[in-house]
Subunit: 203 residues, 2 copies
Amino acid sequence: MPQEKESKIQQKLILSKSSTLFWEKGYAETSMRDIANECGFRPANIYNFFENKESILFEILFQEMEDILTPIRNLAEDESIDPRDGLKQVIANHLRMTLGEKRNAKLLFDSGLNNLSPKNRKKIIKQRDEYDRICLSIMSRGKKAGIFKCENERLAVYCIASMIARSRIWYTPDGRNSVDDIIEFMYEFSLKGLGVVKTGAKK
Amino acid sequence: MPQEKESKIQQKLILSKSSTLFWEKGYAETSMRDIANECGFRPANIYNFFENKESILFEILFQEMEDILTPIRNLAEDESIDPRDGLKQVIANHLRMTLGEKRNAKLLFDSGLNNLSPKNRKKIIKQRDEYDRICLSIMSRGKKAGIFKCENERLAVYCIASMIARSRIWYTPDGRNSVDDIIEFMYEFSLKGLGVVKTGAKK
DNA sequence: TTTTTATTTATGAACGACCATTCATTAAAA
DNA sequence: TTTTAATGAATGGTCGTTCATAAATAAAAA
């Protein structure tokens, strides 16, 4: 029975509670007391599992970015995948990660970068660069194949990623649009925006 | 000679310096001492011109939103304007406001809402609703005229607005793309995304 | 114009609150 | 017995804000 070590359990508890608090109230507005309260112990105990407040933030940002990256890492080099499907996978995966669990989500990712030490900030930015690279490679292949007719691939990536990332702001789980609706809409919108006239597979 | 009153001058100075600091460092991370330092006097003096820190934030957010709204208020009802031109005006105006002066811009607008009192927050949200209404009315007219072929107008508005608002994150004034480049790209991208096949006027 | 009065602008010092973090110590688990 | 988990108390710091007061400016009266 590979029972998880106690220390790992508490670490995960702290990360989980902190994540909710950071997203809801913001990093600066969340105190170590808030986190400890939510976990059911005193603030001092947090320091048995984390070096300081910043390391908690970093762990959260890094893991979340990793969750976004992992399912699409293969898309960058795999030449056998239709760029349209690649685009759809990126959009669907990112949107599901973004809108899936969290509620009342604010923009921890963007504002939180400022609260990181230069060393940790660099690590997150490296993840972002990888995300950009994956998307760009899909764009390039789509363009080379004559499917995408976009002039500025980088701007296209930024625009599409912006639509996705910002959905955190306006999306409400009980609204008129499901996550799947949004995925479908953004995919079609992006495809047309990229100059793809006829939808490939009518699925 | 309509010389400005001293009190108004200091108020504007405080607002200007605070705006820069809030955008660069974030609201919570900016102290009244920071603001006073930037203005060249002591913190206590700020309270001769503003009730408290929150009222400064509110004034900034409200004014900025007003700057975005004012130039496009006429677009909501004016039936004589081509929806394509309406769309372009919204994009161009908003982007110019967003990317124009500020640098190192973070997402004050989104995270800052949490720091407002319920009463003030309601006022800003009212402005946002007006923005949405203007965009939606342009969409509807474009759709009714058979120009836009979008199915979900609300999602379309959110997507386009997201591209614009988030450009604050990735835009750099010294980068490869000028503001005008971005305007042109987003306009074309949105137009195609909305199903407009042939560009109306080729400039 | 000068002098007096009122008003505005600016200050230093202090307040209470909360902050992240440290540390010696105890309780629990291995 | 050794390691891990949890605690209470305390530290030094920063925060927004208040307040009595001083300096500067404007208005009114002489």
